[in-house]
Symmetry: C2
């Protein structure tokens, strides 16, 4: 057995049975091993950002890591932006990067690069395999590292000779360390704060935003009067009818400041402190009042839901009913496309257990909140702010959640970064409806230009303008194998959206706004 | 004057008057400064790999650096693969990366990343501006660093507050250090070697492959019997009728070994040692005989052409006539598209002073040599092996060489990595004919799979196959604003190619092979 075969066997033993790949020469033995060892679903991406974003989306839905397969340092580099997003999501990924043979690296052939150096900032684990006989142990360690709570990127660099060399050994899975429990003293202290009269808020993310965590936070809120809110960007939120509706810390600084004004206690539940996405002249970077105290109920790597459950018990918080799951849904919207109209139509038509992948950027900021009465669904966000994640995330989510329709809320500027994902959606016949919000500009940047007090002229506006020429999304998608249609009214949008749900495979609706 | 304005002024004073940009929020003051300070040509790319590859192509043709404008660490990451190629080409680039405000970085907002760490492996200079008043000096230092021979990537990271802060100062250009002269003792020793009877070869790259350097090498060859060859991948080669024809070290290991067999002396003229692109089981990594001696006539950072001139004089090498520039050209090819047929048609129809950008990968390996009788032209290669460079390089080359037609020889698989470049070609109305070689597979990997002795099955073949669905290049290009047509015969190809030359702006020929 060569090293590559031991790698595939060990991945499968460790429960990693899906590989998103964009291989090159140094990975040919891995590719050959995928043939010889049955059981690995291999999904090809035509760009590495598709591969890494899809691995993120897969794990968010499947609850376990996929493997990637990337080619040398520059191939890894192409995947870094979405690994950055995955790192911020706490997503487990076994990130495999083929590379120059160990003895060939010193020759500094053209494609030789600092693969480890590039991997390190996004990875909780980086290892370069040294010999074929150690590859099994290396990948078992990588799987374990990926599963360290809440999940992290484990990069295993596989020099070509460690893949083709003989002596590969299959290694049994190593159990990941359990998530540390929250200390009782911390719980007691936070319970005291919440029992007090000072205004407090719980900021949730990660597992706290699954249905169980939300219900626990809902109990704590009912018992104490503390507010609850989600972090600004989150890997996955259980949402829709029958779930506890939750707002998120707003992106726009003034709105966030207004929302968090007057608070005395910020209780972090797996979340980071609320801070502005960017600094602006004359605006604060921290979004909560300077005199508020920040408490950490649970770090991201701790057992967050268990901590919430114990806190609810500590507070003696009684069970409270969840929102009515059978609330009436609105009718689909009519007229011109607006964020409110899109949310209304989604609330009307979203299928049960849909997965919404939201890279709608500035157009879509209110859509999440307005979908609280839609059929129960999961809502996935771009977590690290590196745009170009939406189409890949949707691709991976569809692989990771078969049988559930994936709805992509996708801004046009962002879609262009990883547009190659549409081809993978077509190839794998994934059940994805992409709502391509076509405003033909970097709308967020026009806001930001105003935010920084600039008074833009022609040159500046040209840098933020996606027309001249207009992107023709139906031709682009069609060229990549995805059928689509254009909607300029909400009536047409509702028709197309409904049609897309009744067919298999991907469909793109260019919504002109 | 704010820091961003001082930056644009200082760039212009330093001769940097073209900026390839994909800006984000933290760069809005830079964008605003582009308005207020006239004189900077700003070219928008819809993906950062387009921006960095275009900056590479621009500098290869214009002979001076462009600036880039990228957004934070993940935006830089998206541009790294083509910066890797640019580094291998010895291309000067002033690589500007906007980033979090200095005081905001410690808050670790979602888009915060290790920008410096990612920049370092491709950069000869990395600096993060600390205050607005220093930005002018920072960019002057970056321009100087970019111009250190033969050229390098100088990354200047610009935190948002150093762009918007007041007190910006315009700084006069700093002269780059001159390229060090080659020591006389080295020249004399190499002259002795070449006067001897042992088989020797000069391996050329960089400035040695411009017309003057080639003519000097031609003189040395005529006087000594030494052979001359170009490095495997080169930034730019003066080629075509009237120029000294030169072969390149072959990519395929067995061909390279055969070509370099029997040599006793390898004389590097700005070049790296001939080594295999990748290691293969049971093949050597070094392509020249183990008993050959390697001599360095000139390092890449030295004055290579001056060294060749002195060596020719030292050898008393007389002037020799150049090849006849008026040699008859073939007629355009007919029948089925093959590499030989494409080269024949290019030899027949290539316009004077065309710029050929070659990312034809496996299909096109012989086309360069077969174009030696074409009208005089420059030949640009992908230098670092990171595919996805061709469309951006062509884009930048067209900006850097106005009035010259750019011909892209472009493999389909590679084109997909940075397909967004077509939009910039359309927007800037660049005179580029892309010959999109559509074989609907990663052909090189099929060879490589055979090379490593694998016997591929369905899973492996699926990983190397770009059909299912077929990429429809005319729809993709059209969706991005570039008109195109399909050729399945060489007759049709010749017609389309000729038509493309008589029009302004970009055109794409999908050549089905």
């Amino acid at each position: 057995m060569n090293g590559a075969e031991s790698l595939v066997h060990t991945l499968l033993k460790g429960g990693v049975d899906t590989c998103f790949a964009n291989p090159g020469t140094s990975e040919m033995h891995f590719v050959a091993a995928l043939d010889r060892v049955p059981g690995m679903r291999s999904v090809l991406g035509l760009f590495e950002g598709v591969v890494t974003g899809a691995a993120d989306g897969y794990a968010r839905m499947a609850g376990k890591p996929a493997a990637t397969l990337l080619h040398c340092g520059p191939g890894l580099a192409n995947g870094l932006a979405n690994l950055h997003n995955a790192r911020r999501a706490g997503t487990p990924i076994v990130n495999i990067v083929g590379d120059q043979a160990t003895y060939h690296r010193p020759l500094d052939a053209p494609l030789t690069a600092d693969t480890e150096g590039w991997a390190r900032p996004v990875s909780g684990f980086v290892r370069t395999a040294q010999r074929a006989s150690g590859v099994g142990a290396d990948v078992a360690a990588a799987i374990r590292a990926a599963r360290v709570p809440p999940g992290q990127i484990a990069t295993l660099i596989l020099p070509a000779d460690t893949a083709w060399g003989d002596g590969g050994m299959v290694v049994e899975p190593l159990p990941p360390p359990p998530a540390p429990r929250v200390d009782q003293g911390v719980l007691a202290r936070i319970a005291r704060v919440l029992r007090g009269n000072e205004p407090a808020i719980l900021v949730l993310t990660g597992a706290a935003l699954a249905a169980e965590g939300l219900a626990l936070a809902h109990r704590i809120r009912a018992a104490t009067g503390a507010r609850i809110i989600a972090q600004g960007s989150n890997a996955r939120i259980a949402h829709g009818a029958g779930r506890v509706p939750i707002e998120r810390v707003p992106y726009v600084v003034d709105r966030a400041l207004a929302m968090l004004a007057g608070l005395k206690h910020i209780v972090l539940v797996g979340a980071v402190k609320p801070v502005a996405f960017f600094a602006y002249p004359d605006k604060p970077g921290t979004l909560y009042p300077p005199d508020a105290t920040v408490h950490v109920l649970a770090r991201a790597d701790q057992d967050i839901v268990e901590a919430l459950a114990r806190l609810a018990d500590e507070l003696g918080a009684p069970a409270v009913p969840l929102p009515n799951g059978a609330a009436a849904r609105p009718a689909p919207a009519k007229g011109a496309p607006t964020p409110e109209a899109v949310a209304q139509t989604l609330s009307a038509l979203l299928p049960e257990q849909a997965v919404v992948v939201d890279e709608s950027v500035s157009f879509g900021r209110t859509i999440f909140a307005d979908c609280a009465v839609a059929a129960p669904h999961d809502w996935l966000q771009i977590t690290g702010g590196a745009i170009g994640d939406g189409l890949p995330l949707a691709t991976g989510a569809a692989v990771g959640a078969p049988g559930r329709r994936v709805i992509g809320l996708q801004a046009d500027g962002s879609a262009m970064y990883t547009v190659q994902a549409l081809w993978t959606q077509a190839r794998e016949r994934l059940d994805i409806t992409t709502i391509l919000i076509s405003n033909r500009k970097y709308a967020i940047l026009l806001h930001e230009l105003a935010n920084v007090g600039a008074n833009p002229g022609r040159t500046a506006l040209d840098m933020l303008d996606l027309s001249n020429p207009d992107l023709d999304w139906l031709r682009i998608a069609g060229g990549l194998g995805v059928e689509g249609a254009r909607a300029e009214t909400m009536e047409r949008f509702a028709d197309l959206f409904s049609q897309s749900l009744s067919r298999r495979g991907p469909f793109l609706i260019e919504l002109v706004v």
